[in-house]
Symmetry: C2
Subunit: 156 residues, 2 copies
Amino acid sequence: MRLSTKGRYGTRALLDLALHWGEGLVQLKDIARRQEIPLPYLEHLITPFVAAGIIKSTRGPQGGVSLLKHPQEIRLSEVIQLLEGSIAPVECVNNPKSYPRSNLCVTRDIWSEVKKAIDGVLESTTLQDLVERQTRKEATARCKVREVVCQLRLTK
Amino acid sequence: MRLSTKGRYGTRALLDLALHWGEGLVQLKDIARRQEIPLPYLEHLITPFVAAGIIKSTRGPQGGVSLLKHPQEIRLSEVIQLLEGSIAPVECVNNPKSYPRSNLCVTRDIWSEVKKAIDGVLESTTLQDLVERQTRKEATARCKVREVVCQLRLTK
DNA sequence: GCTTTGTTGATTATTTTGGTCAACAAAGCA
DNA sequence: TGCTTTGTTGACCAAAATAATCAACAAAGC
């Protein structure tokens, strides 16, 4: 049940773009550097988002990519779907007709429930949610003076 | 996020054993035939359950395997754990210390929530639950006479 | 001791993963 | 115009995981 690097890298790349929302174009090489993703690999990760109209790209000097939709409008379910395809744990959950015994198969029902549980989390989380969490985490780590235990330890 | 055949076959094999609970030993070749699992492969799938004390095995003529615990006592989470290891979508969710930046990583938090959602389903489902669902499904398919639409079509 | 069953470890083919590389296309600037 | 900078595309490849298979072995029962 592991997510491949495609899913992990891709999500980080989209989060990086969301963090730069409103700042114009962001270059792939900068995303690659910040998120520690090989640039030639990142290029392939971006493709499906451009095709899906979620990312706009511009070539040439000072070119780059940026989100076409507000981070609030981009659900994680959509991101993972584009990167990894369906998150269904088994194929027959996507395509019941391909599996003639599916109407008697109880294990299939369970995998279907697992899929719904995963969907529940991914559907209800947007890139904007991630941005806000990140901002909150960074604020906490910045060591507020009046706190007894200095949070700066976190940045070590 | 796909389950491998290990997880699917193994779950079916355990369900098969649960369906024969109380009937003594079941031979691997019968499980293999009913569940359409290659016998030499099934042998390897059974091993971890024997090691974990969930299955008892006896060699020799009329030997076979059987559950050591009541199907009610065997959770799907345990089954999948033994077959596939942790269901965490990313490694850093299992082992936060291995990933020094985890306390700032918001994507990790989301994968952790996904893991919890999956766990929720698998922890709350036992083999006995699957047995009961199966029984109920078969009863429905057996075409109750007073029903207008004959459910026998399902068995085609 | 022979047969039937499960156990174990080695081996293998195929597929998926995780990239890399090179040729290309468009945009901007001298 | 031609050069540089960026993204695009498709071919390619190595490594790892998957999904088995096979053979030698061990125990149990007749």
